[in-house]
Amino acid sequence: MNAGHLNERVNVLRLTKTADGYGGYVQSYATSSTIWAKKRQKSGNIELQAGAISTFTEVEFIVRDQTAKEKIQDTDVIQVVGETEKYRINEIVEHEYKEFVKLRCTKID
C-alpha cells in the first residue's frame, strides 16, 4: 500500500444539531474534515424488497490509521468530493498493511 493509492478526496460528514427557533432542533450533516482515501466497491446487490427493487451498495474506504483515529468517529458518514452519494460506516478494521485501516460502508439514500 503506498501513498499513490490514496487517490480519492473524501469528506467526513458529522451530524450536527442547530436550533430551529421553535424550541426544537434541526439535524443536518456538516463536513467535519476532508481526507485522502482509496475507494473500493465490494458489492452492489440488487434485491426485491417490499415489491420494489433496491440496490445495496457496499464500499470500502482505505485511509491512514492515524487519520482515522484523529478525524473519524463511528457515527460519521463518508462522501466522495464531487459526488452526492453518502456512505454510512459499518465497520472500521485493520488493513493488511500496517498504518492503514478499512472503513466498510453502506450507501445510504
Partner: protein, 168 residues
C-alpha cells in the same frame, strides 16, 4: 590518505513537511517531527549516493599529497575559503564551471587542507527523489514486510543517477 569533513550546514532542506504531506497524502500533524527527521535522513542518503551536496555545507578536505591538480568532492563549489600545505597558505587557481578543480601554483604539495563551501543542488529531480524516498520511509517503518525485504526504491536511484559522481 584523503579525508573529508563537514564543518557546518549552511543551507536548508530542499523539501518541507508540507511538501511531504501533500505528496504522501498525510492528513494529520501527529507525525510532523517524524517526517522532519525522515527528510534529513533521505537527504543524507541521496547526498551519499550521488557524492554531491544537496544543501550547502562548509567542508574541509585533506590530502596527504597531491600532484597539484585535484577536484574538490561534493561539488558544485560556491567558494574556497583557504588552501594550505603543511599549514602554510598555498597559492592556487580555481578551474571549471562548478569551481571544483583546484590547481596549486607551486605544483605538488603535501598535507593539503582545503576549506570550502559547497553550493548545494536545488533541482526538481532531486526534490522528486527525496519526496519518493521520504514517502517510502514513512510507509515502511521496518526492513521486512512479511517475507520480502524492503530496499531503496529503484525509482529513487534512477532519478539520482544523472547527478551521481564518485568520491572514493
Amino acid at each position: 590518505m584523503r579525508q573529508i569533513r563537514v564543518n557546518s550546514l549552511i543551507g536548508t532542506e530542499l523539501i518541507t513537511i508540507d511538501d511531504v504531506k501533500l505528496y504522501a497524502k498525510i492528513d494529520t500533524s501527529v507525525d510532523d517531527s517524524l517526517i522532519t527527521n525522515m527528510i534529513s535522513q533521505a537527504r543524507i542518503w541521496c547526498e551519499n549516493y550521488i557524492s554531491r551536496d544537496i544543501i550547502s555545507k562548509n567542508r574541509t578536505y585533506y590530502m596527504d599529497e597531491t600532484n597539484g591538480l585535484f577536484d574538490l568532492p561534493f561539488a558544485p563549489v560556491a567558494s574556497v575559503s583557504s588552501v594550505t600545505s603543511e599549514d602554510i597558505a598555498a597559492p592556487y587557481t580555481i578551474i571549471g564551471l562548478d569551481n571544483e578543480t583546484i590547481e596549486l601554483t607551486n605544483g605538488s604539495a603535501f598535507q593539503v587542507k582545503v576549506t570550502y563551501i559547497t553550493s548545494g543542488i536545488n533541482d526538481a529531480m532531486i526534490k522528486q527523489a527525496m519526496l519518493q524516498f521520504v514517502s517510502m520511509l514513512y510507509d515502511n517503518r521496518s526492513d521486512f514486510v512479511e517475507k520480502s525485504i524492503n530496499e531503496i526504491p529503484t525509482n529513487v536511484k534512477s532519478l539520482l543517477n544523472t547527478y551521481k559522481s564518485m568520491f572514493i
